[in-house]
Symmetry: C2
Subunit: 273 residues, 2 copies
């Protein structure tokens, strides 16, 4: 069966955070339709085991397949770290994750070959960034630091706050001491703390936002496979949102970062997949 180039792209995350990736796709590939799934009933993934995250990712990809997506973007860093190979083995469409995209750009940008990565306990502990980066350039040394308080601070809305600055300063001190010249923001929420992180790390450190890099990578991949949408068939609103739990938070967060109201969010029973 030939894949339909006008089919939507599937994007999934453990919750709302992946919307920062969806937003970059909307901005940079405006012809593409998107089916977004946020696993809000089981969020977060960052403190769960590899096995559980793989099982959840499989369920979600089966759901997205049913939605006839032409490609899947794993917008969740933890799922990208743990489950990307497993789902690539089982699904016959292009699948990309946020980690590869971020690693590629970091490898290209670093001059002193010292790259920092911040993220959840799961992402950082997986060592997956180091693996990718060393494949790209064996001379690179990777320094990881888990920042478990960043997501709740973002969700509390304390984006520009002395508490957040103090927490960030404490988390990042180690990476400053290691003299990294490039820092990957390895969690979907972290770009929202960009200015605080910038202030602490200084202007000379390159901050890599994998959400943006993933959108560009998706564009290249679709073009390469002859799957880029022509945008010709767009009659209706091109974005659909699904969640596993209809908490108000999803809509609130979505409305705070997307340029229009996300009203038609639909709940599905993901455990059935």
């Amino acid at each position: 069966m030939k894949t339909d180039r006008e089919a939507p792209v599937g994007v999934f995350d453990s919750g709302v955070g992946g919307l920062t990736v969806a937003r970059e796709i909307m901005r940079n590939l405006p012809s593409e339709k998107i089916v977004y799934f946020g696993d809000t009933a089981r969020v977060p993934y960052g403190n769960k085991s590899r096995e559980t995250v793989i099982r959840y990712s499989h369920q979600i990809c089966r759901f997205l397949q049913e939605q006839q997506v032409k490609a899947i973007v794993v917008a969740c860093n933890t799922a990208s770290a743990f489950a990307l190979d497993a789902i690539r083995d089982d699904f016959d469409i292009p699948i990309i994750g946020v980690i590869e995209a971020g690693a590629k750009v970091a490898a290209a940008r670093t001059r002193n070959k010292r790259v920092g990565i911040i993220g959840t306990v799961g992402t950082v502990g997986s060592g997956i960034h180091a693996e990718y980066l060393r494949k790209l350039d064996p001379e690179i040394t990777v320094f990881g630091k888990a920042c478990p308080l960043f997501v709740p601070l973002v969700e509390e809305g304390w984006l520009h706050d002395p508490v957040t600055t103090e927490v960030a300063a404490r988390y990042l001190r180690e990476l400053q001491d290691k003299k990294v010249d490039t820092l990957i923001l390895g969690c979907t929420h972290y770009p929202l703390l960009r200015s605080t992180i910038r202030e602490i790390m200084g202007e000379d450190v390159c901050l890599v936002n994998p959400a943006y890099e993933t959108a560009l990578e998706l564009g290249r991949l679709l073009a390469e496979k002859g799957l880029s949408s022509t945008g010709a068939q767009q009659k209706e609103f091109p974005y659909r949102f699904f969640v596993s739990d209809l908490a108000d938070e999803f809509k609130e967060f979505a409305n705070s970062i997307l340029p229009y109201d996300v009203e038609m969010t639909k709940k599905i029973d993901i455990e059935k997949y």
Copy 2:
């Protein structure tokens, strides 16, 4: 069928936090066996909808029923707030929650009839404490404050830390302004921040720990129903632990608060129930 008084008590929580309740049962009712379930694959419940929390609680009670428990303690505040009535309708054994037990003691202790309650967004937003307290004493006014950063701060181990003190001071200011004389620690993790909360609220405010009160309440309930264990049949280790995800965190947290090693934690597939 007559319930076996030597059967274990089922205790469940969204994750590790309910172990603070299990610990109080171990201390205060040493003859009772316990089957503990922590829903570590779907933790936390605090930011999920009522409907989802009810569905999860039903699945867990079906699992505990299969373990032939004689009573169930809902150690999770969010599940107590959202799901207690629903599961009482469907299961024919005594079921108690942490919220009722805490509310009873708070109603007995307050002198100025101004009671504060701190917990997750879900627990505080449910207004369930106010409901219970007003039933017990219509003159009581309840002031709720959600403290979403407390759980990640505890899990980060920052129990005695200037950041935690600053966050707590900010969260609690509102309740101080309201001049509450009694404060319910409405989340299983919060007793671990007791000294920080005590410092901010001062010696004159009574801090109610629902974990302790629930253990006492369970003892009274079992005695009343003729279900108290005689302790005579105890040959093997009386506590069994089950989780939905085998992350190391469970064991680490368990070992940090229980007086022995929790080695035999078993993983089950809770979505099957």
